[in-house]
Symmetry: D2
Subunit: 341 residues, 4 copies
């Protein structure tokens, strides 16, 4: 059965697997000290136009969010995020497990708007009781958001300015970063992100890798002994080659962008086809995730022929579902879907 | 340069890489719910002679130790281990990060002996002040130990009996389990371990996999909502196939045992050669790690021709170093070493 | 200057101080094992009509909330509370520090209504992704609430039934319990609370003690080794007499009720006087805290003659302030206030 | 029955209780912002000859150790202490609960010697694997130690120099500080301690107060937002007067020193009497705790007439017990003991 269930149902880009084979019997040092790690870091620095960036490779998204956020916050600080943020909703309390509160702002199309953030921060410091409260210690946004939407360059710049005014870091969760950057509506580039954010990660798991996220500290701001902080959180991979070879491949010959663009092209096809068939969209997403409102009987019918994700109930008779494309979605699958719809 | 630095310098067994390629474009569900996970679990249950075992695949050793120990302990409990245990010495405080104390016993050849454990537990409950102290909540041992040594069947059985008397689980860290089981001196089998221990893990990272450890709960004793506990610790892999395909391969046609046995054969060759050359052993290890006492000038000389690990200082003029073989060590490498020595 | 700033500005009821003097040179055992602790526990059991209650004395409110909540929750669970709950807003992240998320419901006059709770819990278990989320593990309510409002007997009974259906404990924060029970609108008694709640605390700090809160487990449900859990959270007082003597005094001859009733009488006088002077109330509170909306210039004028608390901004020109009475408020203070207003 | 069980069996110095009564109806602001807190801080600064000291009042010892240590350590750091340190043995894992490892050195008469510390720290940084280990982040010593022994001025100065060389703070747990300073063998003064240590606490609970410990940061080194860190650990007392009035009294007219000296005088009497009766001492303690080795039958006999503490087994037939004097021990009690012995 064809699947649009999510963007991590297939394996890795074949070039990655070939690299595993080619290097398999090389004896490499562990824990991210191998030569491919160095090489991959250099390619990413170049792509970010950030020669002083400090780069670490971790395994998965929740792990990456947790390691970064808990390493950057002071004891008495929490992290600001949209109330639909992945760290707030779908990471089983991983941030709180590290002792930190998540401070939520009501999402606007999955985003935090600059005026909301400014309002929150200025109010906090005006509150007489703020020493009895959790201090806002950083801002975490997702690009694209959990609803597939994008921050504009202007919005990101403003968020960045507010964060710097209040001297707290701006962190960007880029689990699907490629799909954001390659969106036809994106006006942000990887160097922009490196400039406006203090730290972000380039998602591999959902963009062609078997696993792996590349953390980028772009402001000479790596937390002290970050290596040890990774280790104590159980996030240090012995065979660092598993991560470095993947990112080295993805950042060779623009592969990361190419496969991301392919997923976006497929998503545009998908949207066109859904629109032609008069399906109703929950919101307008310019990236690889499309949220559709289905009448429940129709949903049951479709389920038998194609895989997609339940998102949430819309009303008694309708459900929001998600169709996602990825680097490995094929034209044939889109064609098949058309026929089914 | 040939390397005996550790047992995780090369990639994965070629059969594993082939499996990645063969299944790469199959659409599989995530988080360990794919069909290969089921298949791999079944093969491991069979190998453990434990049809009711509950099995989870995690990425690395520190992560696995942390997830298991923190899930099994109550708030007010700590974990007993040898003072040379990996969790005590080389995991950067990962256990304490979860709020639990490590209660150490002085190692005996890297091991905890049954009489030590009995003595510790009986004393604890006799202490009038024990309610002001950390309760012993489980026992963690390594097989092989960090010094390459092995528990005998009798020792493991006795530890198991003591734990059950005091109603605390016995946990076995099997990062190098294959190398223990295939040692010529081992009198323990995988079914024995499943019988005597309440939980253990079968190490993949150091025994032919790119990453991955298989956690086995053998007594219908999986902690409640263990899946969620994995997730909140950032240890849940999205593409579970990366782990399941590896363990499915390792537990097909006895591959895990075969490659472990090969490493042991190479270690025996290594030992023979070191003994012939009159090198002095720090202790007698029947597994793939060999600890040698080198005169410092000799160590500097050797370093230029072969890679090995610094372990610790022996005295002002001597150093303990470690030579490790692995599934990928070749006869040629042993021959080359012989020439160098 | 007269003060209605809060209910903890004065010392302790004089009878308590007298008890300190009378017993000062008695040699008493520590940590809550003294004879007065036993005596105080018995009096509280009687007052709760709960002969099997298990009672512990702790020092302060945030500490008590933290110790109870973290001892009752499993690793993967969070606590449900109103978004205005003290644990959510004004305890500096004490709950999250223990690794647990707070799951908020939008307050209704400072309360959680039974239908909200039922809706939240039933939705949670219907969510396909709930294993990636924090499990609701207990419910925490305040009586009176942070806005001085009260749950009715019917509401508490319904909350209790819902909690029991979902098998999670219902916890009641009684920092100002006396002022709730003695309110003219209260239809709940201490035995009712012991019946409907699984655990609650009887606040001393704000009701006549120098410090101290009495934790009551009313269902044979004390967490295992709770003494040790108190100790490891730094909440075990060496000289337990400081707490036991206070609660023994408060629960002798109905002193706790008498002084609470006095505070309520004073609050009713205060309300009458504020209403006569046409002050506008933010909400209707039947307990010792009254929330008034003041025009800003008026607020500045009053500040010079009487102490009260800033609560929050109402709009550009108005502010919500709080006037609180307590066990030690005098008729003369009310008279003086009348003159000022 | 007379009691030498510990130094916290009686109430508070009568002058303290009188102060409670005198100020009882004054309306004072909470959380340590009252006028008596300011006054008490000033007196302590004077006593420490440290006009820039920053002083906080907390309730109890375990709480104080936990708040200080967890606020000063970075995530990846642990605290060095003697293996007999209270935080290691008798605080139920309170430090580890905050996520930090305790790094133990073998005690020498209850102390850490400068050469041990130097050796530990220099070895740590020489270890190739130290990035996989917990970094030593501070040193915690007790004065007097848990065995009643004292650091000399020279030892404290050397420990201080070593800590400063390695840029980690030196912390002194002064639960029984008065009894140390007033010992006939002490060559350290309070100003010396303020000079050599980065932070320490002056114990109240065991030296004449009902509760309370005064934390002194003597080097302009208070952790950022320490007030909030106290709050989030549940250690902020609402009625700060309970602590400030006690310390204000203890540091008026040298009361703290006077009552400490009295306890030492009583301890010297006790020692003399025990020596005359040929009792055998476990070690030589110059402070208020005396450790005696009793033949078990003798111990059982004495138990019936006088209260003392079980410490630990000495051998099959002997037990180490502790006799403690305090500010409230009377000459009559010593006389009675003499008769019993």
């Amino acid at each position: 059965m064809i699947s649009f269930e999510n963007d991590y149902t297939t394996g890795a880009h074949p070039k990655i697997l070939q690299r595993f084979i080619d290097s398999n019997f090389e004896s490499l040092s562990g824990y991210g000290t191998d030569s491919y790690s160095k090489q991959a870091r250099n390619k990413i620095k170049l792509a970010c136009a950030c020669p002083n960036a400090d780069i670490y490779f971790l395994v998965g998204g929740t792990q990456t969010n947790t390691v970064i956020i808990s390493s950057l916050l002071e004891n008495y600080e929490g992290v600001i995020t949209a109330n639909t943020g992945h760290i707030q909703v779908h990471e089983a309390g991983a941030i709180e497990r590290t002792g930190h509160k998540i401070l939520t702002l009501p999402e606007q199309n999955g985003k935090i708007l600059p005026e909301q953030l400014e309002q929150y921060l200025s109010s906090f410091y005006q509150d007489n009781n703020h020493e009895h409260m959790v201090f806002p210690g950083m801002v975490s946004i997702s690009y694209p958001t959990e609803y597939g939407t994008l921050y504009s360059k202007k919005e990101l710049e403003q968020l960045s300015q507010i964060c710097h005014f209040y001297q707290i870091p701006l962190y960007l969760d880029g689990a699907r970063l490629g799909y954001g950057l390659m969106s036809r509506e994106a006006d942000l580039t990887l160097p922009d992100i490196a400039q406006f954010c203090d730290v972000f990660y380039i998602g591999g798991t959902k963009v062609g890798a078997l696993c792996g996220e590349a953390v980028v500290f772009s402001k000479n701001n790596t937390p002290k002994h970050f290596f040890t902080q990774i280790k104590r959180q159980g996030a240090l991979l012995a065979k660092g080659r598993l991560l470095s070879l993947q990112f080295d491949t993805l950042f060779t010959d623009n592969l990361y962008y190419q496969i991301s663009k392919h997923a976006i092209d497929m998503a545009e096809e998908l949207k066109k086809c859904l629109k032609e068939k008069q399906y109703s969209f929950y919101l307008e997403s310019p990236t690889n995730q499309q949220f559709i409102i289905l009448e429940n009987a129709e949903m049951e019918r479709l389920k038998k022929q194609v895989r997609f994700s339940f998102w949430e109930k819309f009303d008694a008779n309708h459900t929001i579902v998600r169709f996602a494309t990825s680097w490995s979605t094929t034209k044939e699958e889109i064609e098949q879907l058309k026929e089914i719809l």
